[in-house]
Symmetry: none
Subunit: 150 residues, 2 copies
């Protein structure tokens, strides 16, 4: 599994190209074939999954019972989904609809999570963090949740 970690602030150019941090490219699993699947994620941001990881996620989605809600999710996801392969400079390309949804203008923030990368407008991401609960509070809540799960 690719272990993406850390935050990087980059720039999106006029052609919709976004650089993938070198550290992320380095840990990208070979099975992904240098290709990412970009989808929409909660709070109006985008996620880039390594192609092979997306395949698994897709299988999990397909296995859920087709309730009206799940069906709607499938359709909403499909609406803004794209596949993009790294160019020689290590960038992927986002399409116009994705750029609009995430409100990407110039400054982009990329954050690595274990299996995927989130792509945010820097402005919106900072707003999200500012509005979020106090770090210490969330930290201790999480510790409790971890204990309860045992």
């Amino acid at each position: 599994m690719s272990r993406f970690r850390g935050k990087f602030v980059y720039t999106i150019d006029s052609k919709g190209r976004v650089n993938i941090p070198f550290k992320f490219r380095k840990v990208l699993s070979p099975g992904a074939n240098e290709t990412f699947v970009v989808s929409r994620a909660p709070n109006d941001c985008l996620r880039a999954y390594p192609k092979d990881a997306w395949d698994s996620y897709e299988d999990e989605l397909a296995s859920r019972p087709q309730t009206p809600e799940t069906l709607q999710l499938h359709r909403l996801l499909g609406n803004t989904l794209s596949e993009s392969t790294l160019d020689k400079q290590g960038r992927i390309k986002l399409d116009a609809e994705q750029i609009a949804i995430a409100g990407l203008v110039k400054s982009i923030t990329l954050i690595g999570y274990t299996g995927y990368i989130e792509i945010w407008s820097t402005e919106r991401f900072n707003e999200y963090i500012d509005k979020a609960d106090d770090f210490d509070k969330v930290f201790f809540q999480s510790v409790e949740a971890g204990l309860r799960a045992k």
Copy 2:
């Protein structure tokens, strides 16, 4: 597991480099590959985990269902997370945001706990200790909490 122990007072330089005490490097597990993951911790300090130890923690986090609360935790953590490998002199590099949050200026205090290292501004750390409750009281409260958790 790496058993970090003791307190060390060092200096952060203009490039954001912080020396890791020789004693800590000596006990660093080989699985960490000379690499630390630096994250934010309660009371505006930083923590450095050996890479392999962080991997396990991350797996546990990633396995939680993505509720809005969990997602918020992921993002708060990811916001100030970085990975850094020891240079030839045995130092790691902190980024500007981490330095700002922890208020690191010159004098740094590193304290080893069993599985991680905490990085504090020396000034803030001393204040924290001064303001802390009576040692004996805190000692017995923690013992009780340990009993309740079982």
